[in-house]
């Protein structure tokens, strides 16, 4: 999908991953490969859903967290993104002219704080009855004045941009997987074409929100092996090869309709194009058994015997899932554990994403 022959190459200059592994991206790929990240009972679902095993981000250290005021105003995914943004800017050393940096993010709908909702609703109830009249007065007064912004998907992107001064071309792609790949694709295009010198792309989300979890249960994903995860992952892109960590050589996304029309052929084409060697690694982030089986089958058909299953360790972090997989792949490339890494993602939106990172020669 990228007319790469007419573009300049795009390189990864830095990364960030906020995940159950921790606040650093380096070592993520190795930890996943070694199966060192384990699932645990999710604190965020404990009150409402009891013991649900998932992949949950630990407490964010104050040194890298947003300030208390921003923390109160932000949705949790926005906070994860803001922390990831801080980390990737530190990683790249991109201190100057941040208003020129492009920013494309896959975002989800898991924003609103249940605590805020609790306060708003509690104040709206009189004599055991909820009333709109009361909601319009005491209910509104009880909640965070910017509660509406916690619910709007774009604030996952915008809030971080405000905190860190990112001001270039941008978009927030609603994502349950594929939208995040669309975000990376857009970032790749603006950099490759020279429209922007630098771009950030990734995703931030949480599947550990009580309402999101209820919906995932309802839609049957949990029964089919969906493991909830959360986090934020970002790649920093530019055309500069100096000090580059890897080359982003391919990024494409295919809609659910395309996939339904011929997943086997599409995956076959991807593997034929990729031509995996012994030094290459294939990683995939698939939401549950059906998509995992589809990708495993394609790998087997292509002679790839070893695959790294990101979701088995990090769960499915919805809009963040592909981005965390890219960063894990980057870690493998940077540490010499892979010459190239093919990352396939199959989120619950039914689409397919394909990203290739390769060692800079």
């Amino acid at each position: 999908m990228c007319p790469s022959n007419q573009y300049q190459k795009v390189y990864v200059q830095g990364a960030a991953a906020i995940s159950a592994f921790g606040m650093d991206w380096r070592g993520l790929g190795a930890a996943i490969t070694a199966n060192k990240i384990t699932l645990s009972p999710a604190r965020q679902l404990a009150d409402s859903h009891g013991s649900v095993f998932g992949s949950e981000v630990a407490a964010i250290p104050a040194a890298i967290d947003v300030d208390a005021r921003a923390c109160k105003l932000m949705s949790y995914p926005a906070r994860l993104n803001a922390v990831a943004l801080r980390q990737v800017l530190y990683d790249t050393g991109w201190e100057s002219a941040r208003d020129e940096i492009a920013f494309y993010l896959g975002v989800g709908a898991s924003g609103g704080s249940v605590a805020e909702l609790t306060e708003m609703l509690r104040a709206s109830i009189v004599d055991q009855t909820f009333t709109l009249d009361r909601f319009g007065t005491a209910g509104l007064a009880a909640c965070n004045p910017l509660f509406a912004f916690q619910l709007m998907n774009n604030f996952t992107l915008c809030h971080g941009a405000i905190v860190h001064g990112i001001g270039g071309p941008n978009s927030a792609f609603y994502s349950r997987g594929n939208g995040t790949v669309a975000a990376l694709s857009e970032a790749m295009h603006v950099v490759a074409s020279g429209e922007c010198g630098r771009a950030l792309a990734g995703g931030a989300d949480s599947a550990l929100h009580p309402v999101t979890w209820a919906q995932l249960c309802r839609d049957g994903y949990v029964d089919q092996g969906f493991i909830p995860g959360e986090g934020a992952g970002l790649l920093a892109l530019s055309r500069e090869s100096t000090h580059a960590l890897a080359e982003l050589s391919r990024c494409e996304f295919h809609s659910a309709i395309t996939l339904r029309a011929g997943a086997a052929r599409l995956l076959s084409d991807i593997f034929q194009d990729f031509k995996p060697n012994v030094d290459d690694r294939v990683l995939f982030s698939a939401w549950g058994e059906p998509s995992r089986e589809m990708l495993l089958h394609a790998c087997n058909e292509s002679g790839v015997s070893t695959v790294i299953d990101i979701a088995a360790c990090l769960g499915d972090a919805l809009a963040a899932a592909p981005a965390l997989a890219w960063v894990a792949a980057l870690d493998l490339v940077v540490t010499g554990n892979a010459s190239r890494a093919l990352v396939l993602n199959a989120g619950i939106d039914g689409g397919l994403g394909c990203v290739v990172l390769r060692r800079v020669v």
Partner: protein
């Protein structure tokens, strides 16, 4: 690379002034306003008690989907693009849609699920939420549901992208569609935006931050303006790489982030300026004949946008005309930028420049060449559309009459 041009082949809309774009044009040109007291639910103590609801629109299921489908049908029919099988593979769908919020009915049900008494019972909430979810299909309420349904309906096997960028969602979706056509990722794109936010939660949420008009009037750039009024509707556009019979070209797109504040625009208008300049540079022009402004009727936004327009165009601005459709139809949030594009398209097609409804006393801080009262007629060869979102995400689009 030599990017392909992008042409506008058809537009469609459902608005509070007409159930099609064709029906909406005459009242918009006459300066009508669809803003009325909200009677759909009790707003007695809400900060704002008016909106621009679409009352004659009959539908089943999710309102956004129904609105978007109706607008798409009009746009697609107007475009009259013929396809063979091979071309069908290259249709893309690009939709600006916000959500993340539960519809009010869901929230109401959740309160009952959580006990409905003085205490909020989390355990009961969790247990009942699953039961509630049985009746609340996430695949229908998700922002992506609109995109998915349109992709299926139009056999689109190209990109199916949902942009959730608040008030610039629709314009950004158009920008993404144009980029995909320029790059050859798709040949035809159905794009636009939809907003259906005449809902207690949204009126409450926007009211809580003081963004809505307490006076109950949407009067962009007027000295009386005190906030925006929520509207609803869908505006859709069919873009193509082939010129065919198209009269209008989408010539440039520009985007930026204010990186300034959650609720207020950058007082220097820097982000807005950068978005407009980027769009003009992409279109290789430095002046336009008409601007369909974001013009929300909020005190800060309108003044900052006016300042940014003066900075971008200098004295050339006063050879053009500026208006905002939000006086007539309120603020569609995710659909706003796409609606703005339709207004600019009408200006290019027929030379009809819609007035800013309710603008009778222009604010001195909003010194612009306004269109007051009724529509004016003039030849328009170039137009700019602005969409600036809460959170500071800006998108500008440039339209040009084909040579």
């Amino acid at each position: 690379m030599s990017a392909r041009p992008v042409f506008v082949h058809g537009v469609g809309a459902v608005t509070a002034l007409g159930l099609s774009w064709r029906e909406s044009i005459a009242p918009l040109a006459a300066g009508a306003s669809a803003i009325v007291p909200v009677t759909e639910f009790d707003v007695a103590h809400f900060p704002c008690t008016v909106a621009a609801p679409i009352r004659d629109f009959k539908h089943q299921g999710d309102r956004r989907i129904a609105l978007a489908c109706a607008a798409s049908e009009e746009a697609w029919t107007a475009a009259a693009i013929a396809f063979d099988d091979s071309q069908q593979k290259k249709i893309g769908i690009f939709m600006g849609a916000e959500s993340g919020r539960a519809p009010f009915a869901t929230v109401h049900a959740l309160t009952r699920a959580a006990g409905g008494k003085a205490a909020f019972d989390h355990a009961k909430f969790g247990k009942q939420a699953r039961v509630l979810a049985e009746h609340c299909d996430a695949s229908q309420t998700s922002p992506a549901a609109v995109t998915s349904l349109l992709a299926k309906r139009y056999g689109a096997t190209g990109p199916a992208v949902t942009i959730s960028l608040a008030c610039s969602s629709g314009a950004s979706a158009v920008a993404e569609a144009a980029r995909s056509i320029r790059l050859g990722i798709c040949d035809v794109a159905l794009c636009g935006g939809v907003g259906a936010d005449v809902d207690p939660l949204m009126l409450a949420g926007f009211g809580r931050i003081g963004a809505l008009s307490g006076r109950g009037i949407s009067c962009p750039f007027d000295a009386r303006r005190d906030g925006f009024v929520v509207g609803e509707g869908a505006a859709m556009i069919v873009l193509s790489a082939d010129r065919g019979t198209a009269v209008v070209e989408l010539a440039g797109e520009g985007r930026s982030l204010d990186a300034y504040n959650l609720t207020a625009p950058d007082p220097d208008g820097d982000g807005a300026t950068r978005a407009m300049r980027a769009a003009l540079v992409a279109a290789k022009i430095d002046a336009v004949d008409y601007v369909q402004a974001h013009g929300t009727s909020t005190p800060l936004n309108d003044a900052v946008e006016a300042m940014a327009l003066r900075r971008v165009f200098g004295t050339h601005l006063y050879k053009s005309h500026v208006s905002s459709v939000k006086g007539a139809l309120g603020h569609w949030i995710a659909g706003a930028g796409a609606l703005g594009l339709l207004c600019a398209h009408e200006a290019l097609m027929t030379g009809t420049l819609f007035p800013t409804a309710n603008l009778t006393n222009p604010d001195r801080d909003c010194d612009l060449p306004h269109v007051l009262g009724g529509a004016i007629k003039k030849t328009v060869n170039t137009a700019l559309v602005n969409a600036f979102a809460f959170g500071g995400a800006n998108c500008s689009l440039v339209l040009r009459r084909c040579a």
